[in-house]
Amino acid sequence: MANKETQQQFSSEELPIVLVNRLPSFKLPFQDHLLSHFHLLDPHDSPETYDSFLSRHSNSIRALITVGPTPVTAEFLNLLPRLELIVGTSAGLNHIDLSACRSRGIAVTHSSSAFSEDVADCAVGLLTDVLRRISAADRFVRDRMWPVKKEYPIGFKLGGKRVGIVGLGSIGSEVAKRISAFGCIIAYNSRKKKQSVPFPFYASVCDLAANSDVLILCCALTEETHHIVNKDVMVALGKQGVIINVGRGSLIDEKELVQSLVRGEIGGAGLDVFENEPNVPKELFELDNVVLSPHCAVMTPQSFEALLELIVTNLKAFFSSKPLLSAVSIE
């Protein structure tokens, strides 16, 4: 890694400095591309100890990229007295201590818009799969049951279903756009009502659930939204209700969900995220009305490019004192 240090030192006069905060098992994606715009400091690429490297550079670090779920804790922030910006590379922000950032006046940018389309595609894919039993029917065919059983149990139409979207940010909006084309009726819950949005707003997730056939969870995981889908919400949604989760596992009380599904108290679920990934409650494997995906809204070539552009744009805006593109408003 000595070569990289040397290469960085050549350009260090011209390019702005950005710290790369990553767990050793995570690589910074598109590092080469970023190197042409920024002087990247990566403690794991240095022969020095982590602490020594960080304290040597701490006064020149105004911005950092935190890779994937690499945490940014209050203690870590204390080591960087001049830090003003944190750029996240994942859609979620629950690994960043946002209230510590708020007290320090550190701006945080998220990257959810780079993924929104892919996550929305995943959400709709899970919904169509649950309602039309696609994965279960595929297993039926592969198990050679079609010539034996002749008919496969029929599913349910999407058109006319009342879909409640929890969180109408960039992901929720992309979901709404897609499911409108299927003739679904959309309503939403979000921290605040959005004036420009034509869909009915429900101030509580429980009320939304009571008026929905399907709930799609697209919101961020915060203290307020932890287990936002609890037993009451599931009861309100009802026996035919379907829950789709592409947000974070802990948005749902997973134990309650599993019990409700096993007991047939709700209609079905499509889950891309779990409370304790990669562990998935094994009871779910037996259920034909449950579709599971392994955190599928991953990097695709399009979202990869969109993410890179978002990161570069935010960093460049910061270093030229222009407004950030995707700053999180930390209330």
Binding site: E117, D118, D121, C122, V124, G125, T128, D129, R132, R133, I134, S135, A137, D138, F140, V141, R142, R144, W146, P147, K150, E151, Y152, I154, G155, F156, K157, L158, G159, G160, K177, R178, S180, A181, F182, G183, S293, P294, C296, V298, T300, P301, Q302, S303
Partner: protein, 296 residues
């Protein structure tokens, strides 16, 4: 009307069977071991046939039923009915258009998303170029949905439709060459049999995905299977096959396909609506009223 013999080829829907039994003398053809004897015995009372995607009224059947007046299909596809013969003999034909359009299109999109969610496809997102063969009711419904996923829609159909804003390709090979996902949405006729052949599959290519929710014979199935096994074609979502319920064994081991047992119209709401159309058409005919959804 209880004496009117209605021959049903296959079990298709218990609600339909129930309702037909209330009104007519329903003859369940699939339960009959000696079919030709049965037909000879009942030929003078059978005035209607209820068919579906698996069996309808071919030339042979029509010939042995001298009192056949109407064929009412529990499907929108008419490929199992000898339409020319029906016209010739003045036999009316009805199907179930419109009521299943949306759910078939839903399934096409569901198949696309399911194929692209597979781990072997994780280095790609929902391909932005969707090529649709046949821009009738189902094709248009697929296009409308795919557009909401920000896909670019191209199409092939027998004639260009100038009022449509999507890009037209004059042949299927060119359409395939310019598509990430190719969707078959046309009806099955002699011209469209094996419309998906080796050439089209090659043009679609190792990153291409084929979606078929209409009829198995649209696709040269052995060609498709070898292309998928050899990875000359990226993936496929198939609801229909040439010899249902038989599905080529080689497909079971592949991770780049999704296989469904002809469930295109398979929702509670749709099957009920289809059944109501069959019943409504038969009733209308035997009461000398205008047919609801006549084809011939």
């Amino acid at each position: 009307m209880e004496s009117i013999g209605v021959l049903m080829a296959y079990p298709m829907n218990s609600y339909l069977e129930q309702e037909l039994e209330k009104r007519f003398n329903l003859l369940r053809f699939w339960t009959v071991p000696e079919k030709s004897t049965f037909l000879a015995t009942h030929k003078n009372s059978i005035r209607a046939v209820v068919g579906n995607a698996s069996a309808g009224a071919d030339s042979e059947l029509i010939e042995v039923l001298p009192r056949l007046e109407i064929v009412s299909s529990f499907s929108v596809g008419l490929d199992k009915i000898d339409l020319a013969k029906c016209k010739e003999k003045g036999i009316r034909v009805t199907n179930t258009p419109d009521v299943l359009t949306e759910v078939v299109a839903d399934l096409a999109i569901g198949l696309m998303l399911a194929v692209l969610r597979k781990p072997c496809q994780s280095d790609r997102s929902l391909g932005k170029k969707v090529g649709i063969i046949g821009l009738g009711r189902i094709g248009m419904a697929v296009a409308k949905r795919a557009e909401a996923f920000r896909c670019l829609i191209n199409y092939y159909s027998r004639t260009e439709k100038p009022e449509i804003k999507y890009k037209y390709y004059p042949n299927v090979v060119e359409l395939a060459a310019n598509s990430d996902i190719l969707v078959v949405a046309c009806s099955l006729t002699e011209e469209t049999r094996h419309i998906i052949n080796r050439e089209v599959i090659d043009a679609l290519g190792p990153k291409g995905v084929l979606i078929n929710v209409v009829r198995g014979p649209h696709v040269d199935e052995p060609e498709l299977v070898s292309a998928l096994v050899e990875r000359r074609l990226g993936g496929a979502g198939l609801d229909v096959f040439e010899h249902e319920p038989e599905v080529p064994e080689e497909l079971f081991g592949l991770d780049n396909v999704v296989l469904l047992p002809h469930v295109g119209s398979g929702t509670v709401e749709t099957r009920q609506a289809m059944a109501d159309l069959v019943i409504g058409n038969l009733e209308a005919h035997f009461l000398n009223k205008p047919l609801l959804t006549p084809v011939v």
